[in-house]
Each structure stands twice: as C-alpha cells, then as structure tokens.
C-alpha cells in the first residue's frame, strides 16, 4: 500500500496579516508560515493506516521556508519518504498550480499511490481545494470532509462529515484521493529531539518541477480587512475589571 500525502504551508493566523502596497495581495515579507492544519491531520491519518497494516508513507512539500523541518517532523512521526519539490515557489502559488506539480511529481517519481491523502482545505484557498484538483489530474475519485478511513480489498470505507454531525459512510474504489478533515486521533506530538535526529540522518529527496501554471484560479484586484458593521463593545482593563463588567452584563441579561 503506497500512501502519498502532499502538503502545503499557509500564513500563520496568529500573526497580523499585512496587505501589499498595491492592495491586491498578502504581504509575505515577514509572514510566518505554518503547515496547513488539515494537512497535519492527513499526515496523521496516513501514519495511523501504516500502523494498522503494511504501507509506505511519502510526504511531499514545495520548497518553502520550513519545508525541511516539516518533512523531518513527518519522518519522526513515522513517514518513510520525504520529498521536497524544488522550483520557484516565491510568489503566492495557487492550488491549481500546486495540484499540477504534485500530480506530475507523483507520475515522474513513479510513486504509484493507492491512496493520496490531502487536507480537506486551507484557509487561504481562493481557487478551490487541492485534493479534488489532484484527483482529476491523477484520474482518481475524490471524497472530502473525511474523518475516518478503513482499508479493505482495494477499497476504502470512509466517514464523510455533513452539517449537524451527520456522517455518510462511503465506499471508494482505490486508487483514490481523500480530503481529510480530521484524523481518527489528534496529530501526535513528536519531541524536537526526534525531529533533530531525523534531520541528522537526512534522506530528503529533491525533485525539480517545471514552471508553475496557475491557470484556473481567479485574479485578485483588491484585498482588504472585512468591513465591519457593528463591532463588539470592548471592555477595557485586566481580568478583574472585565469580570466585574461581565457580572453587570449577566445581571442585565438575567443570567445571574
């Protein structure tokens, strides 16, 4: 069983988001990037499947800042093959471009995946999610919003999430691409020392990609902070002041 997990990084929302002088893009100059959260769940799900049976887990990432640390963290968790795609990923790259290079790399590296796991979405997706694009380029079926995977006999039985807590159990013929919403257990913690150890051993395979083709995504003419109708009335002061005011509010609302 070959499992491939293509991942990407996104702006870390803990930081303030700055817009470029042109007003049409995120200013990436000082932006801290982080592994896309649902991609972390996709890595975890791949490793859980490996632990349940025979599988080789390949993790692929474009060559961006922190790419190697992300790959070695995945190795420390149990991934077998880290691949870094090298090329010009400096400018903001969309999912159409990424899906094309991931699909080409899967073919060129002859990874022959039975299963491709991607994060179901990323907060900066503006041209759809990566998984179903990749599925189409690899001519595989796709199911997203998945929070549980069981493999049997050339098929995957998956739990697909719908609103209100409803789950659809679906059967998908392999090879397939799945968009992971949440792994069956939270992404495991791995000690920094283990990541450093993996880093010392090395083993990242580099694979050069050709020019990126973002066609299929929209062009942004303006980026802005959301227009706020009526923002919250802010309570100033430390926790004691805030608590005191909240008690007043609770009294007005008849809660206490």
């Amino acid at each position: 069983m070959n499992i491939v997990v293509p991942v990407k990084v996104v702006p870390d929302l803990v930081d303030e988001l700055e817009i470029t002088g042109d007003g049409n893009a995120l200013d990436m100059t000082f932006m801290r990037m982080a592994l896309n959260e649902s991609d972390d769940h996709a890595i975890e799900q791949a490793i859980l499947l490996k632990e349940r049976g025979e599988a080789t887990v390949t993790v692929m990432i474009p060559d961006v800042e922190d790419a190697e640390r992300i790959l070695y963290t995945a190795v420390a968790k149990g991934a077998d093959q880290p691949i870094k795609l090298t090329g010009d990923f400096e400018d903001a790259v969309n999912n159409h471009a990424l899906a094309r290079v991931f699909a080409r790399a899967v073919k060129e590296k002859e990874l022959k995946p039975d299963l491709v796991l991607t994060g179901v979405q990323a907060h900066d997706d503006l041209d759809g999610s990566l998984g179903p694009l990749l599925a189409e380029y690899l001519e595989m079926p796709y199911v997203g919003y998945v929070s549980g995977v069981t493999l049997t006999d050339g098929k995957a039985t998956v739990r697909k999430e719908y609103p209100g807590g409803l789950i659809a159990e679906m059967e998908v013929t392999l090879p397939a691409v799945l968009g992971i919403q949440a792994a069956e257990q939270p992404p495991r913690y791995v000690a920094i020392s283990k990541t450093s150890q993996a880093m010392k051993i090395g083993g990242i395979v580099e694979h050069a990609v050709e020019e990126l083709d973002p066609s299929g995504g929209p062009t942004v003419s303006r980026m802005s902070q959301p227009e706020v109708g009526e923002r919250a009335e802010m309570i100033d002061g430390d926790e004691d002041k805030v608590a005191t005011r909240l008690i007043e509010i609770f009294k007005e609302l008849g809660v206490v």
């Binding site: 988001l17 189409e136 796709y142 968009g179 227009e227």
Partner: protein
C-alpha cells in the same frame, strides 16, 4: 455562452439545505447584472418535489437513481455534461461538504476557472465581482468573475436563506439522463449523530471554548464556570479534534448550529466555519487576546484578556453574585 446563473441545489436525506437558498439569493444579484436567468440545477431521483420553493426562473431537473443522494463521482459526471452543453455564465456551488467535493474536479476536468469561499458579489465595470472571505475571516479578496463559465463556491453569511425561497413553484424542465457508468464512489449508509448527554442546540447559556483554552486540564476551569452560571460547555473544532470534548459538543459547520440567549466565547477566533453555527445567538460575549479575531465582529461585548486569567476570576464573581 449564455448569461444564465446556474445554482447547484444541495439536498441531503430528502431535504434542501439552506446553502441552496443562500445561493439562489446570490444568483439573483449576479443575474440582475448579467441580464441572464437564475437556473436551479436539481440532481436527484424522484426528487422533483424539492423544486417547489426554489426562487429560480427555471429548474433543470436531472433524474437518475445514482443521483438520489450525493456522491462526488455521480454528481461530477452529471454536472460536467450539463455545464459543457449549456455553458452558463456562472455556476454556484456550496462551499460545503457537497459543493467542495465537485467544484475543483469540475474546474480541472472542464478547464474552467474557479473562485472559492465567495461570500457576496459586487457590481463591476463589465464583469460582476466576487468577494471572498479568506484566512479564517480575517481578509476579503475581490476580483472580476473570470470569463468563460466561472465556477464559484459560496459560503453562508452574505445572503439570507429566505431570500432564495419562493411561494410560487418555478417551471421545471427534465433533462436527459447523463451517462453515469463505472461509478467509483458509493454511499453505504448515513450514521445519525449520537444523542449525547446534552443537546447544546437547546441550551440557553453556552460557555464555548476554543484553542485559547490551551490544555485539556484547563477545561475543568470552563466546567466550573458553566456550573456556577448554570450553563453548558461547548467547543470549536480544534478542541473536539484534540479529543477533549465529544463531537456532540461541537459548534459550527460540521457540528451543531446553536442560538442560545448568551454565548460566551472563550479563546475562540471566530473563523467562518465556527461563526456559521453560532452567529444567530442572542448575545455573544467574546474573550480573545487577538484584537483582530473575527469573533469580535459578531460579538456584542468583547475583551482582550487571556481566558486562563479571566475564567477563575469570573467564576469567583459569579459565585459571589449568586450567593449574595
């Protein structure tokens, strides 16, 4: 290419989902600008009656047993045929578990441009503009709807579902069967949500915790506050994904939609997926150290303090207030 706006109607277990009406309302706005019709696209099996309250100029109904409930493979196959043949100006799909499964695939298969997380549309010079909400609700991105047929996934929030409903049934035209062969995805069964110990959608006072709670042990602080206030603890997705609370306590897109009298959001950023499930609460009070957290845009009251400092202080005051 026509100037029509297609809306792919989402339905589950025989019920039209709210996002479908939201999209019909959005489509009307775009159609007013392009001069085309709003066309609802209903895929299903013996599902014609679901068209009755759709606010559309017409309904294209595609009948096939494989379309009775959503599966990505069958839906994508049927939609690809239809879009290729009719070439509408825009196709709206939900930015949901249904729409997102097929939108990107259609974009790749038909080589059509795709815009996602679209919340509203603006009039532009020539082409209507999309306005998308990205980065957890912290940024809006806008631009011209691409030429050729533009595929768009729509998030809730920009239009009210009622605006997409009509008392007069629209005209329905049945489309010929698409060729749906060798389907690779099948629905086995639906698993209904567990009942859980409490139904958070029926509670009037909710203490909601998010990432700001930091550690599982800290949930106890929230439980104590809830007990003092006479409320119930619920959570945003990250807390449930950590396994700290059961899924029955999750508020948001894949969880419950709640409308309590008071919603106290502790350390929750208020990403669109969460806001979708709680924005209708009567009074929202948000505590978050990030002044840019979108939760402050839906809250009535807010404070930028650390929830771990605030909760014990607040619990203490509540106990005093109730005791005295």
């Amino acid at each position: 290419m026509s100037q029509d706006i297609f809306v792919v109607i989402e339905h589950l277990q025989g019920r039209v989902m709210d996002i479908s009406y939201v999209m019909l309302a959005a489509a009307r706005k775009v159609a007013d600008e392009t001069g085309g019709d709003v066309v609802a696209v209903l895929l299903g099996h013996e599902a014609q009656k679901m068209a009755s309250d759709l606010a559309a100029d017409s309904v294209l109904y595609v009948e096939h047993p494989a379309l009775s409930e959503f599966t990505s493979d069958a839906y994508q196959g049927a939609l690809a045929e239809l879009i290729k043949e009719k070439a509408p100006r825009v196709v709206l799909l939900g930015h949901t578990s249904v729409g997102m499964d097929v939108a990107s695939g259609l974009s790749a298969r038909l080589e059509l441009p795709l815009v996602s997380q679209c919340q509203s549309f603006r009039a532009g010079d020539g082409a209507p503009k999309f306005v998308s909400q990205i980065c957890g609700g912290k940024l809006m991105a806008e631009g011209d709807l691409p030429e050729a047929t533009a595929l768009v996934t729509v998030v809730p929030g920009g239009f009210k579902p009622e605006e997409g409903q009509s008392a007069t049934p629209p005209q329905v035209a049945q489309e010929l069967l698409p060729s749906l062969e060798q389907l690779r995805v099948t629905l086995k069964e639906y698993i209904e949500p567990e009942a859980g110990d409490v139904d958070i959608s029926k509670e009037s006072l909710l203490i909601a915790v998010g990432r700001g709670i930091q550690r599982e042990d800290n949930l106890e602080l929230a439980e104590e506050l809830a007990e003092a206030l006479g409320g119930v603890v619920c959570a945003s997705r990250p807390v449930v994904d950590q396994g700290w609370l059961p899924t029955t306590r999750m508020v948001g897109k894949s969880g419950k939609a709640v409308k309590p009298t008071v919603y106290l959001a502790l350390g929750i950023s208020g990403a669109p997926e969460h806001a979708e499930g709680m924005a209708e609460s009567e009074t929202i009070i948000a505590i978050n150290t990030d002044p840019a957290a979108p939760i402050f845009d839906v809250a009535k009251y807010g404070a930028e303090v650390d929830v771990l400092d605030l909760i014990p202080a607040l619990t203490e005051r509540v106990r005093q207030a109730k005791g005295g």
